[in-house]
């Protein structure tokens, strides 16, 4: 069985249809980029895979677990232990320092361990910014804190929704290099949504969406 398996997923809202029967399989440890124009259903699909939203029809399996069969509590637990999220906006708690923001993720997962949080920030190159608040960090640094926060609980999947959307080219490259390094070390699965061709090319596989459907599925060699 595939690590991530999306079967005939439909998502309908009152006034619109976001996904019109999406099928997709992802092997463990792969980096997949999803591209497409605005409104094509990329973020909706990502949210459904991450258990943040539920499909109107169809099912999603992650490592053999049918997300539709999980209760709200079990879903939250599953998310906490298996999935890391990075969004376009950093969503860091503004009055906590970098290390405290990472420790917050540890707290909701199990218990805090400051040494481990410091180590995680060192790995993303922020060892000198441990006790700075988000407002004292640049956009690229904030996003690196987000990556440290997303990976601190050793998730099996990293879901990234436009992680470099607010960054300049130099910072984008830095973030992608960091992700590539961590991915090669820890072998977690990445699904990254973007509409930037520069970003999508870092993946091993590229899915193109349009009008709620996957219209192209191609391997990438970088």
């Amino acid at each position: 069985m595939e690590f991530i398996s999306v079967k005939d997923v439909v998502k309908e809202y009152e006034t619109a249809v976001a996904l019109r029967g999406v099928d997709m399989d992802v092997e463990k440890g792969r980096w997949v980029s999803i591209v497409g124009p605005s409104g094509s259903g990329k973020s909706t699909l990502l949210n459904i895979i991450g258990g943040l939203d539920s499909p109107t029809k169809g099912s999603v399996f992650i490592d053999g677990v049918d997300l539709g069969s999980l209760s709200e509590d079990a879903m939250a637990r599953f998310r906490r232990e298996n999935i890391g999220f990075v969004f376009q906006q950093s969503h860091l708690v503004p009055y906590l320092t970098s290390v405290e923001n990472v420790m917050l993720a540890q707290y909701f997962h199990s218990i805090t361990d400051e040494a481990e949080a410091v180590e995680a920030l060192n790995r993303v190159g922020l060892g000198h910014r441990l006790h700075h608040r988000p407002s004292q960090l640049s956009g690229g640094e904030q996003q690196r804190v987000c990556i440290a926060r997303a990976l601190i609980n050793s998730p099996k999947i990293l879901l990234a929704d436009e992680p470099t959307g607010n960054l300049d080219r130099e910072n984008t490259r830095l973030i992608l290099e960091l992700l590539k390094k961590l991915h090669s070390e820890e072998h977690f699965t990445i699904i990254l949504v973007t509409h930037d061709p520069f970003v999508s090319k870092w993946a091993e596989r590229l899915l193109t969406m349009e009008d709620g459907r996957i219209i192209k599925d191609e391997p990438l060699y970088c």
Binding site: E81, S110, I111
Partner: protein
């Protein structure tokens, strides 16, 4: 509904509630330990207990046997409490025992412990019910008590069957379960119906007696004739050592120290680093589950600490206001005899309260005390002992207390001669009154007045 029936209902309810609670927690504990089969010897133990209590109901055991059963309740509490302390010590990380008993050994152990735990209460209660039925000259209290017990047990079992047990089991290790058993015994171990619903007064009395004996034996060891030598002011200070308050604090200290230390350790002890090749998140998850388990196991301990505190202090609150020292009623000699009626419009000697009567003998006023003992007989004594100056006695619940030296004397021991007990008087009982020879009063009073008894002590 007569008082006998109400009392039978209360006893049936209390015993059934204890049985249902123990069943609930034990089955939850076994479920968590995945040892559900051990519930079978528990059921056999309960069955055997009821069988033995039926036997005791019909063989008319004597006072000695009854006393043994009453004492057994206290011993059961002690055994389970010590067991829980040892298990708490073990569960806090110190390896006292390194073996794990298998089910073959545990089956007879569970059966025997079940009988040991329930037998004193059930036999005690059934004997009490038997006395009620003898007083009422009907088997109604027996039927009512048995029916109440059966209905309450059944209702409790049906109400919680299958529910809560999985969750409840997570809160109970062996230490918590043993502590639960000892607390149930402590709070519901009394067998005297309304009069004594818990063991707390007995435990306090035991401590008071122990401290009192230690104080006096110390004086004996030092060859100091304490009572004749020391004045009442000094005794007021020494008496603090065997007052209820002192016993309260001693007992609280002894009973609460182990669970409080366990709680302290639960919250402060370092969580060991998980072994093996694990990611940081996996290690934290294991540590979190250890921490969660520690907190869960601390909940019943904290709960029992609160219950014990509340029960003890509520008992204390009642006690403070219950020092009873009635004003003596004058009685007169009639042809060499003092006659005290059992009842009159203002008094009932069988009400369990201390009664005092004063008799003028020359320049002296001799005071006589009368009180009903737990066995239903009346104790008639001088309001003085062989040791202290004749300041007399007051009453606090099940004790009379020497006003001079503060020594509490259990009411059931009145009539015994010597020591701190009031000097017993020979009296004739009729169905209407008590008759005491004045010559007997004069003889004993002269001894008190002349300090003869104190000379003997010296």
């Amino acid at each position: 509904m007569s008082l006998f029936i109400v009392e039978a209902v209360v006893i049936g309810f209390k015993e059934a509630l204890k049985l249902a609670l123990v069943w609930l927690v034990f089955s939850a504990f076994l479920l968590e330990q995945n040892r559900q089969k051990l519930i079978i010897p528990f059921y056999w133990g309960v069955f055997l207990t009821f069988l033995l209590s039926l036997v005791s109901f019909f063989i008319h055991p004597d006072l000695f046997v009854k006393d043994v059963f009453a004492r057994l309740i206290g011993y059961t509490f002690f055994v389970f409490f010590i067991g829980s302390v040892a298990a708490l010590y073990q569960s806090s990380g110190v390896r006292l025992f390194r073996f794990r008993l298998n089910d073959t050994i545990l089956r007879p152990v569970v059966l025997l412990l079940t009988v040991f735990y329930f037998l004193p209460d059930i036999v005690g209660s059934s004997l009490f019910i038997r006395e009620l039925s003898l007083m009422k000259e009907s088997y109604a209290p027996v039927y009512v008590s048995a029916l109440t017990g059966f209905v309450v047990t059944l209702a409790a079992v049906v109400a919680v069957a299958g529910r809560f047990r999985r969750t409840l089991g997570k809160f109970f290790g062996i230490a918590q379960f043993l502590l639960f058993l000892s607390v149930v015994k402590l709070l519901g171990g009394g067998i005297k119906g309304f009069a004594e619903l818990s063991l707390i007064p007995s435990v306090e009395r035991g401590v008071i007696k122990f401290v009192h004996d230690v104080v006096h034996q110390t004086f004996v060891f030092l060859m100091v004739p304490d009572h004749p030598l020391l004045r009442v002011t000094v005794w007021n200070f020494i008496g603090i050592l065997f007052s209820s308050s002192f016993a309260l604090w001693i007992v609280l200290l002894v009973v609460l120290t182990p669970p409080v230390m366990f709680l302290y350790r639960s919250f402060t002890a370092r969580i060991p680093e998980p072994e093996g090749v694990l990611t940081g998140a996996e290690k934290r998850k294991i540590k979190a589950s250890i921490k969660r388990d520690r907190l869960r196991k601390a909940v019943p301990v904290a709960f029992f600490v609160c219950i014990i505190l509340v029960s003890w202090f509520s008992g204390r609150g009642e006690q403070v206001s219950r020092f009873y020292n009635p004003k003596p009623k004058p009685v007169v000699e009639d042809k060499g005899v003092v006659i005290i009626p059992l009842t009159d419009p203002a008094m009932d000697l069988m009400d369990g309260k201390l009664h005092k009567f004063s008799l003028l003998r020359g320049e002296d006023t001799v005071v006589i005390i009368v009180i009903k003992k737990p066995d239903g007989k009346l104790a008639v004594c001088l309001d003085a002992c062989e040791i202290c100056p004749p300041e007399g006695y007051g009453q606090i619940e099940d004790n009379v207390v020497c006003i001079y030296c503060r020594t509490p004397i259990p009411i059931e021991t009145l009539g015994q001669k010597g020591g701190c007990n009031p000097i017993p008087l020979k009296a004739t009982m009729t169905d209407r009154d008590i008759r005491i020879d004045v010559s007997e009063i004069d003889r004993l009073w002269q001894d008190v007045r002349a300090g003869k008894t104190k000379e003997i002590v010296k």
